[in-house]
């Protein structure tokens, strides 16, 4: 099933970048090129062949790990992607960790005290965060921490020969922006899971039996694990998309930054490779979440489960 979806994704990616008007010829040959020059570029890029043939050629290459060469820099796309992957991970992983702790903790707390003042305050905050586009959250953080209270660097300029991991202060702002962007919806989903779990007969039974404190929290939380895992995988998938915006704003040399740059220069092989990678990664994350939820459900057979 996943293979089919990935194939559909690859066709979409190829179609959007390769067949729609305004192909790479215009980008490579420049705006002043004559018709003869454009034709020469078209031939050199092999764009005169039928789309299906080119798709199969490209798809075959991808299967063998060959993503083609960049039209702008002339380097191997696999190398570029490999180099960018690390920076993306350096931002996304701390953001995911931060979200897990923040949304998980506050979601559980608000869910256990549904209707309290804290719950209502958090509900308002998250609504604001959901409504605010990611790039505004990121710009806001940039404003506060680099201008009004300048403690952190505005853009991530990684010294040559070092990786982003060695410069934790460069990661803080992008990761925080990414985490805040996903915080609203994730916390709301988790809160709903906990509220539902706390209202279940299982939790009521525990309450009536005098289970209190940490043990009660554990009872409720472990019962909410299935939907919560689902919420987290949706969040993780969302981070991959949000990463594009955040990386571009903070100049983090990651995949998303490279993608917006490649779109700007119409570097088709690079766009195709990164899109396929990001889309594929999202699908895999969602699939892994589904599998995990199945496993959890099998471990806790409950009544009334659909």
């Amino acid at each position: 099933m996943c293979a089919v979806t990935l194939t559909v994704l690859s066709v979409l990616v190829f179609w959007a970048t390769d067949i729609l008007p305004g192909d790479a010829v215009g980008a490579v040959s420049g705006p002043d090129a004559t018709d003869a020059e454009r034709e020469a570029v078209r031939l050199a890029l092999g764009l005169d062949r039928p789309p299906l043939e080119r798709y199969l050629d490209w798809g075959g290459g991808v299967l063998h790990g060959d993503l083609g060469t960049s039209m702008v820099s002339g380097t191997d796309v696999t190398d570029i992607v490999g180099a960018r992957l690390e920076a993306s991970f350096a931002v996304i992983l701390p953001a995911a960790g931060l979200l897990l702790v923040l949304a998980g903790g506050l979601g559980t707390w608000a869910g256990l005290r549904a209707g309290s003042r804290l719950d209502r305050a958090l509900s308002g905050t998250t609504l604001g965060l959901i409504g605010t586009p990611d790039f505004l959250i990121a710009t806001g953080l940039l404003l506060v921490f680099t201008l009004w209270w300048p403690v952190l660097p505005a853009v991530a300029i990684v010294p040559l020969g070092q990786s982003l991991w060695q410069q934790p202060e460069l990661i803080v702002l992008p990761a925080a922006a990414l985490a805040l962007g996903g915080f609203g919806s994730t916390m709301r989903l988790l809160r709903a899971c906990v509220v539902q779990s706390a209202a279940s007969p299982y939790a009521e039974f525990a309450r009536l039996n005098g289970v209190r404190g940490a043990r009660y929290v554990w009872t409720v939380v472990s019962n909410a694990a299935g939907p919560a895992v689902h919420a987290f995988t949706i969040m993780l998938a969302g981070l991959l998309g949000g990463g594009v915006v955040v990386e571009t704003l903070f100049n983090v040399p990651g995949l998303g930054y490279e993608l917006t740059r490649a779109v700007g220069t119409r570097d088709v092989p690079l766009i195709q490779a990164i899109s396929l990678l990001l889309g594929g990664a999202t699908l895999l994350v969602l699939l892994a979440g589904d599998v995990l939820v199945r496993l959890l459900d099998r471990r806790h057979p409950r009544e009334g489960q659909p």
């Binding site: 305004g22 409504g131 605010t132 790039f135 404003l143 969302g238 915006v245 899109s275 889309g279």
Partner: protein, 273 residues
């Protein structure tokens, strides 16, 4: 929610939409010609000061919202329409397999990050606002289809729909008189959520420099263009940002209120973006 509280959220949203739509007609002077040095602070000559190229910020703010709001509205309407027809269609069809395959395809497409779809569409044909609107529509359809499908499948098993079918009423009559009234509230709430998401995506597209090229004004792009001059004149960043936040947050707060009244939270009607 009392009528008053509803207005508290609805008024700002309406005001921003109005400013966005009629703004370009009100813009004082040119939006592209420099009128002073870059990042002059706001004053009597230019109410909101000048931007990175010394252009009048007030004119650009007034001119920069229409595309964005129209993109969002068009994407919401088209997406809801597509969602309604496909959702009702897949719920009513007798071909179980077709319906299942359709759902699967919708799920697969929904998994692709929205920003990625935007970038892909923009790389296919750069500098077009219409393409951005189409991409936003494409992103919003899967969510609409899923919600409408679920709602319709639930309604279709109710006694009154079964009765209507047993009376031998035509498919259209069943949809028009038995299904649509039940779907309408859900579809409206869903459309609102899609509108918020579409506004955010349209603004993000402007921010990333997709859509129409550089000299045109766009609230999303203004935030990016002018972020270098925050020290000298923060207004060209803050004003468009506040307008965008008021639009999106006001709308989602309004929806949340309505959803709480009807069913209990946004979670019931699906997730944003």
């Amino acid at each position: 929610m009392s009528g008053l509280r509803r207005w508290v959220f609805a008024l700002p949203v309406g005001a921003v939409v109005t400013v966005a739509v009629i703004g370009p007609w009100l813009a004082p002077g040119s939006i592209t010609a420099p009128v002073g040095r870059p990042f002059e602070p706001g004053g009597t000559a230019h109410l909101l000061g000048t931007d990175v190229l010394g252009r009048d910020v007030l004119a650009r703010v007034l001119a920069g919202g229409r595309t964005l709001v129209l993109q969002a509205i068009a994407a919401t309407l088209l997406g809801s329409l597509a969602g309604l027809s496909v959702g009702i269609g897949t719920a009513r069809t007798c071909h179980r397999r077709t319906a299942a395959a359709g759902q699967r395809a919708v799920d697969a497409f929904a998994a692709v990050p929205a920003v990625l779809v935007l970038l892909l569409a923009a790389s296919g044909s750069a500098g077009s606002d219409v393409v951005v609107a189409v991409a936003i529509t494409a992103v919003s359809i899967p969510f609409s289809v899923r919600i409408i499908h679920e709602r319709t499948s639930r309604l279709i098993t109710t006694d009154y729909v079964c009765d209507a079918r047993a009376r031998g009423e035509s498919g259209w009559a069943v949809i028009r008189y038995d299904l649509l009234p039940g779907i309408a509230p859900v579809a409206l709430a869903e459309g609102g959520i899609r509108f918020v998401a579409a506004t955010q995506l349209a603004a993000t597209a402007g921010f990333l420099g997709l859509g129409a090229g550089a000299p045109t004004a766009n609230w999303g792009r203004m935030v990016r263009e002018n972020s270098t001059g925050l020290n000298a004149n923060p207004l060209p960043v803050i004003v468009p940002a506040v307008l965008l936040v008021v639009l999106a947050v006001g709308m989602s707060a309004l929806l949340d209120r309505l959803a709480v009244e009807r069913a209990g939270g946004l979670e019931q009607t699906g997730q944003l973006a």
